[in-house]
């Protein structure tokens, strides 16, 4: 049986066009499972428009403390124990600041702390048509366990890849370099960084590449909005060449890309003949070749 390959699209800096690019790839790759791991700002479903919900589940958000005022003797042990300043002087737990360590629950002499699991988000396994699977999740605001939800979403994707006989899982990842990005990237065969030719784009590209290097995963780079700065575009190309990262290609800036999003479509669907669409198709071809050799 052909082994399932996982690839992930990240950016470091937010807003470089990861999701728009992933939406086009979703149309070009046949027989794959798409996954949206940007669980606290999930956008891919707005373009992929899933036709059918196959299954869904709430996802636990870790435990949070809650104080029973009827049992509380106001001894203050909890306030002193809490390292996160989450318990007020009138013995109310701030669920935003509470990190779920359970110190108050374990140490309370009056058994006045309720320590229970709450819902942190939901994940969804869907069909986007033609038996193609798309898995995504939405985390409830303010949660701090996006890494776990990402892992759950990836697991569901693996189950779907097995059941549909897909050999590729393509992941739209989150911005940044923290926990959810780490959870999106590990165990993949290729990290594709979509960046922009600007100082922020370059700075953040280096940091996210340091992350994929830390996990010993091959990296490829795509420069979006490529024509806003030729000098930065060249700087990024040189950086890739000097550090052995594959330069997959560049996509020029076009207003049609925004129009496509507003129309709820991927650019290669909305305006297949525009420069950006042609560039994406070229990148797709190079990507396919790369994947054959990984």
């Amino acid at each position: 049986m052909e082994k399932i390959k996982e690839i992930v699209i990240v950016s470091g800096k937010g807003g470089t066009g990861k999701t728009s690019f992933a939406a086009s790839l979703a149309l070009l790759f046949k027989g794959k499972v798409m996954v949206d791991c940007d669980v606290d700002a999930a956008n891919l479903h707005l373009i992929l428009n899933p036709e059918k919900l196959i299954r869904q589940s709430p996802f636990p958000g870790g435990k949070k403390a809650d104080i029973y005022s009827e049992r509380c003797t106001k001894c203050g042990v909890c306030v002193e124990a809490c390292r996160f300043e989450a318990i007020s002087s009138d013995f109310v737990v701030d669920t935003v600041l509470c990190e779920g360590c359970g110190a108050c629950y374990v140490l309370c002499p009056a058994n006045a702390v309720n320590f229970t699991e709450h819902t942190g988000g939901h994940w969804y396994v869907t069909d986007t048509g033609n038996n193609e699977r798309f898995v995504y999740a939405e985390m409830l605001p303010g949660e701090d366990n996006s890494g776990k939800l990402v892992a759950a979403v990836r697991n569901e994707a693996r189950i779907e890849a097995e059941s549909t006989g897909s050999s590729l899982i393509a992941i739209d990842g989150p911005p940044g370099i923290g926990c959810p990005v780490i959870s999106s990237v590990t165990g993949t065969k290729l990290v594709i960084v979509v960046t922009e030719p600007t100082p922020s784009g370059m700075h953040d590209l280096e940091r996210v590449i340091a992350l994929s290097a830390h996990f010993r995963i091959k990296t490829a780079v795509v420069v979006n909005k490529s024509d806003i700065s030729l000098s930065w575009l060249n700087a990024i190309k040189e950086y890739c060449s000097a550090n052995n990262h594959y330069f997959l290609g560049e996509i020029p800036y076009e207003l049609s890309i925004t129009e496509a999003q507003r129309a709820g479509k991927a650019i290669i669907d909305y305006k297949p003949e525009c420069e950006a669409s042609k560039a994406i198709k070229g990148i797709f071809e190079r990507l396919q070749l790369m994947l054959e050799n990984i």
Binding site: G15, L46, G62, Q261
Partner: protein, 289 residues
């Protein structure tokens, strides 16, 4: 007064708006501090170009076992919610990157065999930027998962009496909440697109649930009715807009403060300042013209 700049969706222009706003009000003679809480990917420094940066490590506490006192009872590992401790019959293994520094293990060890040590996860840098803007940023070390402690460390540098411009990370999860938690006002920078609006709604709901006054800046403004409708229907004030212009994008790509190359946009930022002042009742500008 603390004004946070957040967005929900990444790349809408939080940092662009925040640094230009800081520049604009600093030029009016107001003491301004720019605080970069996007500790995973801090970018403010690329535009504000701070100098004389004083670097300090950000450390978190992690447990260390005193093997002379430990009886291998296993209580610490049993209570740790973060899988940071594994008890074997004659060993205690500690996984420092998992540790949330709650110190429960230290408190419940019946033998007093657990103590705490420091571990570095990032650093803060403080200095002065252009126009006398006081600058501080936090940087999380690559491969560290938790931004929270670095964000809290950056906030220790708050300067009394300064208007504090706090640049938040993208998204809607814990680091964003931690960043906004002590703001007096939250400015949401968005773009007129479906992705922008989808994420804006989630982010705004967090701020409103925290009881914060909010307002929206539309960057790269264009025709997108659902956004205007959302603002109207929910009574969310529109504080300022910036047009979609290639010249602005190019200036940004040169790492410039837009107001330096295109001073005509100062009136947009003036509008932002006036609107925040009107809504908050607080003075945020100096009297220099």
């Amino acid at each position: 007064m603390k004004i946070a700049f957040a967005s929900g969706k990444g790349g809408t222009g939080k940092t662009t708006i925040a640094v230009n706003f800081a520049y604009h009000i600093a030029n009016s003679g107001q003491q301004v501090q720019y605080i970069d809480c996007d500790v995973e990917e801090p970018n403010g420094h690329l535009f504000l170009k701070p100098t004389a940066l004083e670097k300090k490590p950000v450390k978190v506490m992690v447990p260390v076992v005193d093997l002379d006192k430990c009886t291998f009872c296993g209580r610490c590992g049993a209570e740790c919610r973060f899988n940071a401790i594994v008890n074997l019959k004659d060993k205690v293994m500690i996984f420092q990157e998992m540790c949330h520094s709650c110190a429960l293990c230290v408190k419940i060890c019946p033998e007093g065999a657990m103590r705490e040590d420091e571990r570095e996860i990032g650093y803060t840098e403080q200095g002065t930027a252009m126009s006398g803007i006081s600058f501080v940023q936090g940087v999380l070390n690559v491969s560290e998962p938790m931004a929270g402690p670095v964000i809290m460390a950056v906030k220790k540098y708050y300067k009394e009496g300064f208007i504090k411009i706090i640049d938040a990370p993208p998204g809607t999860s814990c680091p964003v909440v931690k960043t906004m938690s002590d703001s007096d006002f939250v400015v949401f920078v968005t773009e007129p697109t479906p992705f922008g609006l989808h994420d804006l709604k989630i982010a705004v709901s967090i701020a409103l649930n925290m009881g914060k006054p909010v307002g929206v800046v539309i960057n790269r403004d264009g025709e997108y009715l659902p956004l205007k409708e959302y603002l109207d229907e929910n009574g969310i004030p529109l504080l300022m807009t910036l047009p979609e212009k290639k010249e602005i994008a190019q200036s940004y790509s040169r790492g410039e403060i837009i107001l330096n190359s295109f001073p005509q946009y100062a009136e947009n930022f003036e509008k932002l300042a006036n609107n925040i002042m009107k809504l908050s009742g607080k003075k945020i500008k100096g009297s220099k013209k």
